[in-house]
């Protein structure tokens, strides 16, 4: 046993296992949320107590507009993600397997990728107004890079022995991709999808917030301009929950798809 292992069992030893710690944490958080505004530490105008937010949420959930907004956000998220992922995987594999393209496009990719997607907001507004397409422009742009970068890593990681073996068996390029490259790149693709799904949600809600496209973000903007503070918080909570659901789904999918694959340790997504 090491010092780390010793520390780890302190909680278990005093009868406070991790799941109980989590529950305590949630209880504390909710308790603070209720108590702090009541004590006047933070004015209730800025932070309504929990029960009022819950009431506002219950009210919203009863309205079809809520579900429509949720649907709109998720729709943009899903379509944008699919487009971005398909394009990024195709482009990534093409570039990754062609050395000439890899060197030629490297600088361009490094230049384009840090460009904040929000820089495209004015353009999106001009071209598409509050249409779904303006949302998609932003979502696809931001998510594309997440997946592309990971795909490029994945293709680069290819075991040269495996590739040479395939070549000596005269695999066609398509065969090479299917049987050798794709399995190697798969964990990276999954990581990219996980990162991209979080980014896509951010851009979806952001574009709704700024541009006014229908969705949760727009409801937030409306609540804010209308001074409906409790409703504002209710929608923020909903957005957070949607985010958690997406993160959980992404991690679950990643685990299932890679159950047979040695896991790739990557960055922790924001």
């Amino acid at each position: 046993m090491t010092s780390v292992a010793r520390r780890a069992t302190v909680g278990a030893r005093i009868g406070f296992p991790p799941w109980a710690q989590n529950v305590t944490g949630v209880a504390l958080l909710l308790g603070l949320f209720e108590a702090v505004p009541q004590t006047g530490l933070v004015p209730a105008a800025y932070l309504p107590p929990l029960h009022r937010v819950v009431a506002a949420l219950a009210e919203e959930v009863a309205r079809p507009l809520f579900w429509f907004s949720l649907y709109e956000t998720l729709r943009g998220w899903a379509i944008g993600l699919v487009i971005a992922a398909t394009a990024a995987i195709a482009v990534g594999i093409l570039i990754g397997t062609t050395p000439f393209l890899r060197t030629a496009t490297h600088s361009t990719i490094e230049f384009l990728r840090p460009i904040p997607s929000v820089a495209l907001i004015p353009l999106a507004v001009l071209l598409f107004g509050t249409d779904l397409r303006s949302k998609l422009l932003l979502i696809v742009y931001a998510s594309f890079w997440q997946v592309l970068i990971q795909v490029l890593y994945g293709v680069q990681d290819l075991d040269p022995v495996a590739r040479d073996t395939a070549r000596s068996y005269r695999f066609s390029r398509w065969g090479l991709v299917r049987h050798v490259i794709w399995p190697t790149a798969l964990p990276y693709v999954m990581t990219g999808l996980r990162l991209a799904s979080a980014v896509a949600l951010v851009l979806a809600v952001t574009s709704e917030l700024i541009i006014g496209a229908p969705g949760l973000g727009q409801q937030i903007a409306l609540a804010q301009s209308g001074g409906a503070t409790a409703t504002l918080y209710a929608y923020v909570v909903v957005t957070g929950l949607v985010g958690i659901a997406i993160n959980t789904l992404a991690r679950w999918t990643e685990r299932r798809a890679l159950a047979w694959h040695p896991s790739v340790r990557g960055e922790v997504a924001p």
Binding site: M1, T2, S3, R6, T9
Partner: protein
């Protein structure tokens, strides 16, 4: 110098308990080079962790210079097997050796002196500014030894330090240990699974049984003090001692499996 009294360690939890060490009692006098050898899984590393204060025993105790060991004692230095993971890669060799000395709050000139001497003693006088990952495995282990040396401990514990190194390098390092032991009059407790190494190095060899572990035998090595890889290892006395230890360990293994079946 070091007294281990009825050390016992039981790993428990979730209903099962594993008695890694049943009863270990032995002593080491100042200036001795004692080797601990035993079959794999006999709890050598557990024992070392208990003696060095990194692990709490279930019962029994360790006394270092008369004081009970309750946490890592101040006058002890440990060299582990995983040299790659015990040196800090963001510091160069000299800084690594220097680090424990800074904690001791020694003046700068004294620290520099100790570091230089230690590195020279292990044959790495010019490697001060290199980084651990630039060095070979054997050299990295030398740095770990230098770090322990510079610390000026009263006793040096070594946990299979040469297990992860190639045979050639191992031979050099074994000789290095004997040299250091002679030059610095150190007390060394050397844990290994390599019987030849234990007999070659030690003045005494403690043979451990399989788990639950006890001291099977305390063997005095009556080889000459001046040892050499070539001649000593082909000495008849060496071969006899080595054979004896090997027998003991084989006995320990069969007794252990008999106990396990019982």
């Amino acid at each position: 110098m070091l007294e281990v009294e009825h050390l016992r360690k039981v790993y428990g939890g979730h209903g099962r308990s594993v008695e890694a060490i049943r009863d270990l009692t032995f002593g080491i006098h100042a200036g001795e080079l004692v080797c601990l050898v035993g079959p794999s899984g006999c709890g050598k590393t557990t024992l070392l962790k208990c003696i060095s204060g990194l692990l709490e025993p279930t019962s029994g105790r360790t006394l270092l210079e008369g004081q009970p060991v309750l946490g890592p004692p101040a006058n002890m230095a440990v060299v582990l097997q995983e040299y790659g993971r015990s040196l800090f890669p963001w510091m160069n060799v000299a800084a690594n050796v220097d680090l424990p000395l800074r904690e001791k709050r020694l003046p700068k000139t004294r620290r520099r002196e100790l570091v230089e001497n230690a590195l020279a003693a292990v044959g790495l006088a010019d490697a001060g500014t290199a980084y651990p990952w630039q060095l070979s495995g054997g050299m990295q282990q030398r740095v770990a030894i230098a770090r322990a040396l510079a610390y000026e401990p009263h006793i040096l514990l070594m946990d299979e330090p040469f297990a992860a190194v190639d045979a050639q390098t191992r031979a050099d390092l074994e000789d290095l240990i004997r040299r250091i032991w002679a030059d610095f009059s150190m007390t060394i407790l050397f844990v290994t699974h390599d019987i030849d190494e234990a007999v070659y190095l030690g003045q005494r060899v403690l043979v451990l049984s399989t788990s639950p572990t006890v001291v099977q035998e305390d063997l005095a090595i009556d080889l000459p003090a001046d040892r050499d890889q070539l001649t000593t290892r082909s000495d008849t006395r060496f071969t006899k001692l080595r054979g004896h230890v090997y027998e003991q360990i084989q006995q320990a293994k069969t007794a252990g499996s008999a106990r396990a079946d019982a």
